[in-house]
C-alpha cells in the first residue's frame, strides 16, 4: 500500500511539473502584457510586472485597428457557422436518404480529406482570382466553408437516428426542411455543439488564407493584424503581448466553459 502511495505521489508531481511547463508561455504572455515599456529590458526579467498598466491594451485600439480586425474575425466566425449548417445538411442526406450516386458523392467528399493544403493553395487562389473575389470577404470565406471531416462526423451521428421518427413527421405533413430544422437539429444538438465550438476556434484563428486573399488592411483578421504588428513593432513587446493575449484569452474562456463537451466529443466521434 505504501508503494502505491509513493507511486501516486510521483505521478502527481510529474503531472504538476509538466503542467507548469505547459503554462509558462501563457503566464509570460499575460504578465508581460501589463508591463510598462521600461520593464522589458529589466534583468532579471519580471514574471509579474512591478508597475502594471492597461496602456498596451488601449494602444491596440488607438494606434492599431484592432477593432476592425475584430469585426472581420467575427464576420468569418458567423460565416463559418453557415458552413457548419451546410455540413449538417449534407451529413443528414448521406445518413438518411437513398439516392442514385450516393456512395460516389460520399467517397468524393472523403477523398478531399487526403489532399494537402499546399497543393490546393495556389490553384484555389487562381480560381478566386478568376472569380474576381481576391480582396473580398467572400474570397476569404468560401474555400473553407464546408469540410469533409465535419460532413463525415454529422453523418456518423445522424445514422443512429431512427428512420421511423422522420416517417411519422412526414405522415403529419411536415416538409423536408421543416423536419431537418425542427426535428433533426435538436436531436443532434450535442455533436452540433462540439462542432460549433471547434468551428469557432478554427475561424477565430484563421490566418494563412486571409493573409493570402486580403491585400486591403480593412479586411485583415486579428491573426493577420497581429502578424503585421510583429513585423512593424518588432521591438515593442508590450503591444505584441497584449495583442496575443487579446486573441488567446477569449478562446481559453470559451474552451474552459465547454471543455467537457469538446473532450467527450472526441470520444463520441469514435477515436477509440
Amino acid at each position: 500500500m505504501a508503494v502505491k502511495k509513493i507511486e501516486k505521489g510521483v505521478m502527481i508531481a510529474l503531472l504538476i511539473l509538466g503542467g507548469i511547463l505547459m503554462m509558462v508561455p501563457f503566464i509570460w504572455m499575460l504578465g508581460s502584457s501589463f508591463k510598462p515599456e521600461n520593464e522589458f529590458t529589466a534583468i532579471p526579467p519580471t514574471i509579474i510586472p512591478h508597475h502594471p498598466t492597461w496602456n498596451n491594451y488601449s494602444r491596440l485600439f488607438t494606434e492599431m485597428d484592432f477593432l476592425v480586425y475584430l469585426k472581420n474575425t467575427l464576420i468569418i466566425v458567423i460565416c463559418s457557422f453557415v458552413g457548419l449548417l451546410l455540413n449538417a445538411l449534407a451529413g443528414y442526406a448521406f445518413a438518411k436518404f437513398e439516392f442514385p450516386g450516393k456512395n460516389g458523392f460520399f467517397y468524393l467528399i472523403l477523398a478531399t480529406m487526403m489532399i494537402p493544403g499546399q497543393v490546393t493553395m495556389i490553384p484555389t487562389y487562381l480560381i478566386i482570382n478568376k472569380m474576381g473575389l481576391v480582396n473580398t470577404m467572400a474570397g476569404i470565406v468560401l474555400p473553407g466553408l464546408v469540410g469533409a471531416f465535419g460532413i463525415f462526423l454529422f453523418r456518423q451521428f445522424m445514422a443512429t437516428i431512427p428512420t421511423d421518427l422522420m416517417e411519422a413527421a412526414r405522415l403529419d405533413g411536415a416538409g423536408e426542411f421543416r423536419i431537418f430544422f425542427r426535428l433533426i437539429l435538436p436531436i443532434v444538438k450535442p455533436v452540433f455543439a462540439v462542432q460549433a465550438i471547434l468551428t469557432f476556434i478554427g475561424a477565430w484563428n484563421s490566418f494563412l488564407w486571409p493573409l493570402i486573399i486580403a491585400n486591403d488592411e480593412k479586411l485583415y483578421t486579428l491573426s493577420v493584424g497581429l502578424s503585421l504588428l510583429k513585423g512593424q513593432y518588432g521591438t515593442e513587446f508590450g503591444l505584441q503581448m497584449a495583442g496575443a493575449a487579446f486573441m488567446v484569452i477569449p478562446i481559453i474562456i470559451i474552451f474552459t466553459f465547454f471543455q467537457k463537451h469538446i473532450i467527450e466529443g472526441y470520444t463520441i466521434s469514435g477515436m477509440k
Binding site: P143, S223, I252
Partner: protein, 299 residues
Amino acid sequence: MREFAKQWNKNKYPYMFIAPAVLLLVVFSIIPIIIALVISFTNMDLIGLADYSNIRGVGLDNYINIFKDPVFLKSLFNTFIYVIVGVPLVVICAMAVALLLNYGTSWLFKTFRVIYYMPSITNIVAVAVVWGYLYNGSYGLFNYMLSWFGIPAQQWLQDPTLAKFSLILLALWKAIGLNMIIFLAALQGIPRSYYEAAEIDGATGWKKLRYITIPLLSFATFFVTITTLIGWIQFFEEPFVMTKGGPLNATMSLALFIYNNGFKLSNFGYAASGSFVLFVIIILATIVQFAVRKKEVEY
C-alpha cells in the same frame, strides 16, 4: 422524360441537401488538384496570370529544376529532420501525458487535462509572438532560466542548428494536447478486467504497462503516428511566422518553400510542381506506415 421527372421528384431533397457542400468541395478541392497538376508542367507566373496566352508548356522542366534547386534540397533535408525528431517526440510525450492523466479521477487530474490541452487551441500567430519573446537572446525568459544553472545564453532562433530545434520544441508544445486526448480516449476503452486478471497473476505496475496498456494502445498509436507524420511533412506555420525559413534557410520546410515560390515570387508553375513532390512524399509515407502495421499484425 416522365420517368426522369419522377426520379427527380423523389430524390430532389437529398440532392438539394448535399448540393452546396458538394459544389464547394468540387470547386475548391477537386478542381484545384487538376489545375495544380496542369500548371506544374507550365511556366505560369504573374505574366501568365494577367494573360493566359503567355503560359507555355515546359514539360518536366519544373520537376527537373526543382531537384537542382539548393533551397529546395535544403528544405527537403530540413523536413526530414523535422519528421524524424518531431514524430517520435510528439507520440512519446502525448502518450506519457495521457498515462499520467489516466492515473486518477480527482479534480486535480481533470484540471490538468484542460491545462495540457490548452496550447492546442491557441492561435499560431499569438503563440509565435509569445515564444519569440521567450526565445529573445537578451530579455527572454529561457536564457534567464538557463542562467540559473550557469548555462550561457543561447541564440535560439539565430543559430542555424538550434533554430530547427527551437521550432520543434514550440510545435511539440502545441501538438501534445490533441494527441493526448486521442490516447486518453483509447485508455478509457481498455476493460478493467484485463488489469485485474494480470494482478491475480502477480503483474506489477511496469509489467502491466508493458504487456497490457501499450499493446492495447496500438491502434491509437498508429492513428497518432500517421496524422502526426502527415502534419510534420506539411510543417509550415511555425517557420513561417517565427523565422521565415531563416537563418540561411536552416528552418525552411517544403511547405514554406512552396508558399514562397507561389505567393512571394509568383512562380505558380514551379510552386505547383513542388506541391506535387510534397503530395507524393505524403502518399509514400502513408503507404509505408500501413505496410509496417500490416506486418506487425501478422506476427
